[in-house]
Every structure is written in C-alpha cells, then in structure tokens.
Amino acid sequence: MHIYTCPFCGPRPETEFHFGGEAGNDRPDGDVPAQAWADYLHYRQNPKGAAREIWIHLTCHEVFVMTRDTVTMAAQPGEPIPSDTTDRGDA
C-alpha cells in the first residue's frame, strides 16, 4: 500500500486517491493548430524519475499536484493547485 499526502487531510492510503493525469497538460485555448490539440489529447511526457501529476483525494474532493518518482514510486506531499481558489481560507 502506498501512502499519499493530501494537502488538506495529510497522509492517506492510496485507495482514497484517483489519478487525474499529467500536471501542466492544459487545454489549448482559442484557435490552435492541430498539433497542439494532438499533444493535449494523445501525447504524454511519461518521464523517467520525477513526474508532476494531478491527483484527487476522493474523500474530501481536493484536487492537487503531486510529484511522484516513476522509478522508486516515492511520492512527495501533495501541493495545492495555485490557481485553485478553494484552497484559501479555513484550513
């Protein structure tokens, strides 16, 4: 069992989390070339080593960024997404 760390709840078993894709793979905006759409939809970085990923903590619905080593599986504590307004306030 891996233990991941939700920015709000702290360390929790991996079964409480859902993978949300690579961090930084933002939806292209406006009139974009086909290649940008293809990159967004179909092509991933899949780095060896540190990978920045979006994860969701299913019990509290927090969406956050987690850096996970794809070789050792070591996971850094989750970081709130900077643009996420819900992480301001009452923690």
Binding site: C6, F8, P11, R12, T15, T59, C60, H61, T86, D90
Partner: protein, 181 residues
Amino acid sequence: MRDRAPFWTPATRPEDILLEGDWITLRGLPPLPQVMVSGDLDAYRAAHDLPEAVGLLAEAEDPHYAVRLARRRMLVVGTELSPRDAGWSAGCATSPMTGALAAFEITGPRAMDLVARATALDPYRPSPSAALLFAGMQGVLYRHGEALRLHIDRGLAAYLANWAAATSLFPDGADAAAPQT
C-alpha cells in the same frame, strides 16, 4: 406482472444491526439528526454556536457537534434541517442528511481492531478531515464518549454488517448479520 419482491432480501434497518464479538460490539443507531454544510464553515459555526469541527478519530461531544469532511465541508450532528430550509444562505449550502447517512457505534477494547481491518490509515496520526474510505465505503469516523462513531451511506448498512461479520472479530457474526424480518 411478475412479483419480484421475494427476489430481494428485506432491507436491513441500521438500528437493528447488532454484532457482538470478543471485546468488541458494532451497533447501529437510530437515525441521528444531520446536516451537511458546505462553504463558509466559520460563519456557520458562529451563527449556530457550534464548536470547532472535529477531525479523524477526534472526540466529538453532545448535544450538537460538527465533523470536518473537507476544506470547506462539514457534517453537523444533532441539528435537524427541514428540506424546506435547505439551500444557499449566508455563504453556506445546507443539505439535510438525517436519512442519507446511517450511524454506527463501535465499542470495546478491540474497537480499533475493526478499524485496522477497514483502512490502512495511521490511527495515531491526526487528520483534519474525519472522512475516509472504510472497507471501501465513503465514511466518517470519530470518537464519541466511549465509542467510535462511523457514518456511512444508509443503503450500505447491510453491507457493513456483512463485511464486519466476516472478520475474525465476530465469531458468531454470520447469524447476527442476517436480515431481520
């Protein structure tokens, strides 16, 4: 039309569930008044004279208390909310949860053994949120007096009883968890 009613086992009332093992008891409670509050939790607590919302395995005290579920969500126990009054008000969304969540009490010196079978959480590490996956179910777990209190979806009460009965903690559990008619 063919009568399919006998195909289904009778629904188990949570308050009819009672499992007794060696040094542990799992008991369903009659419906507890509950309200889900989302939004400005501090404002709601101030307006309703509620103590700080408790986190995982933390101690909650009657007559009414709040249990933290997320950064901006908590479950208030001991307060009834009419569906007529639910909705957005003063920075908070409120939803009646009395019928939605069934509450159970786990008591006895081996109460935490059942928790150990249900989740890989570190029981000695506090967490601001009392929400967890308990035996695969979304649940809420905190202390209340001598007991651990667990809230789960009411429809999963029979599953909880069956799951607990199948652990080694309740040697006579299989009979006790059978639906009562």
